[in-house]
Structure formats: C-alpha cells, structure tokens
C-alpha cells in the first residue's frame, strides 16, 4: 500500500472510533439519567413515563448509529484483507458514506448517497478505489460552504460503472445515464489520482449537463457483468 493510502485508512479509522466514543458517551449519560430519575425522585413520586420513553428511545437510536459505524469499520477491515475483489457500487458508496460521516460533519456539510436501483459490480483493488473516492469527496467537502451538500451517485452505464460526485447546486440535479463527458480539465489535486486508476482500467472526468458539473470515477464492469 502507498503511504498516503495507509494514512487515509488511519484517518478513517480514527474518525469512526471517535464517533463510537461519542455514541458510548451518550448511552452512558442516558442510562445514568435513568438511574438518576429512579434514585433522585422526591418522596414517592412516580417517574413520568414520557421521560423514561424519551431516554430509552435516545439509547436505541444511538445503538443503531453505533451499529452503522461498526458495520463501516468491518467493511473496511474486510476490504483490506481481500483487496482484489468484486464490489457493488452501492456497497462501495454506502461504506464510504458511513466512514466519512464525521469528516462531513466537521466541515458542516451534508453528505448524501443516492443508491442506484440497478447495481453494478466492479473488480478492483478496493482500498485503492476507496483512496481515490475519499480524496475526491474531500476535495468537494473542503470547498463547500457550511450547510452545503455533497452527493454520491453510483450507477451502471453500458459497459462501465460510474461513481458520480456532485456538490452545491449540481447536487440537486440528477445527470442523465449517459452524461456529456468533457466538462473541463481536472484540478491538480484530482489529476494526481489518475496514475492510480490506470492499472484498474479506470479514469476520472468531469461530466456536464445543463450547466451542472459532476465528477465521474469511471470503471469497467466486472467481466461477467458486461453487456
């Protein structure tokens, strides 16, 4: 693995473990609050059902949130142990979405995934793909103002899989299945990634339609999926 790929994995793990620590802190305080409600009640006062319900609902929501974070870590671990494998674009996007939640939150930008109904599978070094995609998404997160939006749109298109990334006003517009590629040159930060995609048969390009630009990571479909 390249040093920058290792560094990225470290950052993703650190971000996810930090989220898990926050989740555990909320669960700890919530369960402590339940104890307080029971122990610190005045005289024979009966604790209010709504108060208990509110706290238990909070605990359940945080457990679900924690589960998502652990699923993301588990997916990352398996991706690293079985690097050259097939992965569906929906699965890849979902994994990245969960791992990057904290990154997006710290930038005060909403990160969203719009999965495709027709999933497409690519055969590639998943860690390398992860590195390229995360770098592209961070490029947009760094440039979006607070309360902005970055959208990840995976889909199949003919013989290829496309992972589209759009931000700002472009995030609200769904490009057609076959967008008009050729929306301008890549900035240096992203052009830097192209040599990594060559061995995977992939490429990066801007696609533009109606004034809205979307960055495309384009990969060949797994051989048995080619139409």
């Amino acid at each position: 693995m390249e040093p920058r790929e290792v560094a990225l994995i470290g950052r993703l793990i650190a971000g996810t473990t930090h989220e898990i620590k926050n989740i555990l802190a909320i669960i700890k305080e919530s369960s402590g609050l339940l104890q307080d409600i029971l122990r610190l009640k005045k005289g024979n006062a009966v604790p209010k059902a709504e108060q208990i319900e509110k706290v238990t609902t909070r605990i359940q929501a945080q457990v679900a949130r924690g589960n998502d974070q652990l699923a993301a870590l588990n997916w990352l671990a398996h991706s690293m142990s079985d690097r050259s494998s097939s992965v569906g674009v929906n699965e890849l996007s979902s994994g990245i979405f969960n791992l990057m939640q904290r990154f997006a939150r710290l930038k005060q930008v909403e990160l969203e995934v719009q999965p495709t109904d027709a999933d497409a599978t690519v055969e590639a070094d998943v860690v390398r793909l992860l590195f390229v995609l995360v770098t592209c998404i961070e490029y947009y997160l760094d440039r979006e103002p607070p309360k902005g939006r970055v959208v990840l749109r995976p889909r199949g298109s003919g013989e290829e899989a496309i992972l589209g990334i759009a931000a700002g006003s472009a995030a609200g517009h769904q490009n057609a299945e076959k967008p008009e590629v050729g929306g301008g040159p890549l900035p240096p930060e992203l052009a830097d990634l192209e040599p990594l995609l060559g061995p995977l048969g992939g490429r990066l390009a801007f696609a533009e339609k109606g004034g809205n630009a979307e960055l495309h990571l384009i990969l060949p479909l797994r051989r048995d999926e080619s139409r």
Partner: protein, 167 residues
C-alpha cells in the same frame, strides 16, 4: 456549593442535553452551546463560572475557543472533555489555561467534583487578587490596587466597603 454557572459546549446535542439534565439534578446551573461561535456568544451574554468544552467541533474547534475565552474572560475556568485527545492536545490545552482535561465517556461524579474544584479555583484566584490589591492599597499605591481589581470580577464583595465587608 449551589448554583454556580456551567456552560456546556459540544456539537453532540443529545450528549450535552442529557448531561445538563443530570447536572441540574445536582444543583448546577447549566447552559448549552453547540459550537464555538455559540459558546463565545454565550460567554459574552452571561459569563459562566466554569465551561465544559469539547475539543473537536465543526467550525471553530475547542482549542480556539479556549484561547479566546482565556484571553477575554480569564476568570472562566475551562474543563476540556473530549473523545479524541492525545497527550499533545492535553499539553496544549493546559498551556492555554485549561483547568482540567478529561476523556469521554466520563464518570459523572468525577466530572461534578472536577467542576466544583474548578469553581473553587476561580474563587481562590479572585481572593488572591483581592489580597494583592489590598497590599498595594495599604502601601499607598491605589492605582495598582485598582488595576488589579479591574482585571477580575469580585465575588467576595471586597469592592463593597473600605474594610472588605461581606455582603
């Protein structure tokens, strides 16, 4: 030691709301802020005695809030509470004037003791300033005495009377 004012600063809203409920049950007066800008505004509006401050937040991070608060409101005691921290972060926080540095998840009783100790520290420092000002005044240096007192609030009522009459 009832009703000293605590400002809770953390972007995890459910965490500080729950913590606030528990602290109020223990007679602490709490207010909440969800980010650095809100925290600074809250301090300007109603200066707390103690601030419980998260390190990593969207926008202005905890270290920047700590720096700004200690510069403009040196009397506010800041307790850092983070799920992230490294030894380097703790060192930097203490250098910037943090009273304590705690890791999440934290034992509530330990947190309450730390908040109360921080408040006692605030009172002790103001008392020291008051004693120092009195020494200068006794020596006839009223200007210096006044400068010392102008730098700090005076919770012990030493400005109320010539002989430091309590309220």
């Amino acid at each position: 030691m009832k009703n000293f004012k605590v400002l809770l600063v953390d972007d995890e809203q459910e965490f500080i709301e729950t913590l606030s409920e528990r602290l109020k049950m223990r007679d602490l007066d709490t207010k909440l802020a969800l980010d650095g800008e809100q925290a600074l505004e809250a301090v300007r509006d109603d200066e707390p005695d103690v601030m419980l401050l998260d390190l990593k937040m969207p926008g202005m991070d905890g270290m920047e809030v700590l720096r700004k608060v200690k510069k403009a409101f040196p009397g506010v005691q800041v307790v850092m509470l983070t799920g992230h921290g490294t030894d380097k972060d703790e060192e930097q926080a203490r250098r910037l004037g943090a009273y304590a540095y705690l890791q999440k998840p934290v034992d509530l009783e330990h947190l309450v003791v730390t908040l109360r100790d921080a408040f006692k520290n605030k009172i002790a420092r103001k008392f020291e300033s008051g004693m120092m000002a009195a020494t200068f005044a006794e020596a006839g240096d009223v200007k210096t005495a006044r400068e010392i007192m102008d730098k700090e609030d005076d919770p012990l009522g030493q400005k109320k009377g010539k002989k430091g009459r309590k309220k």
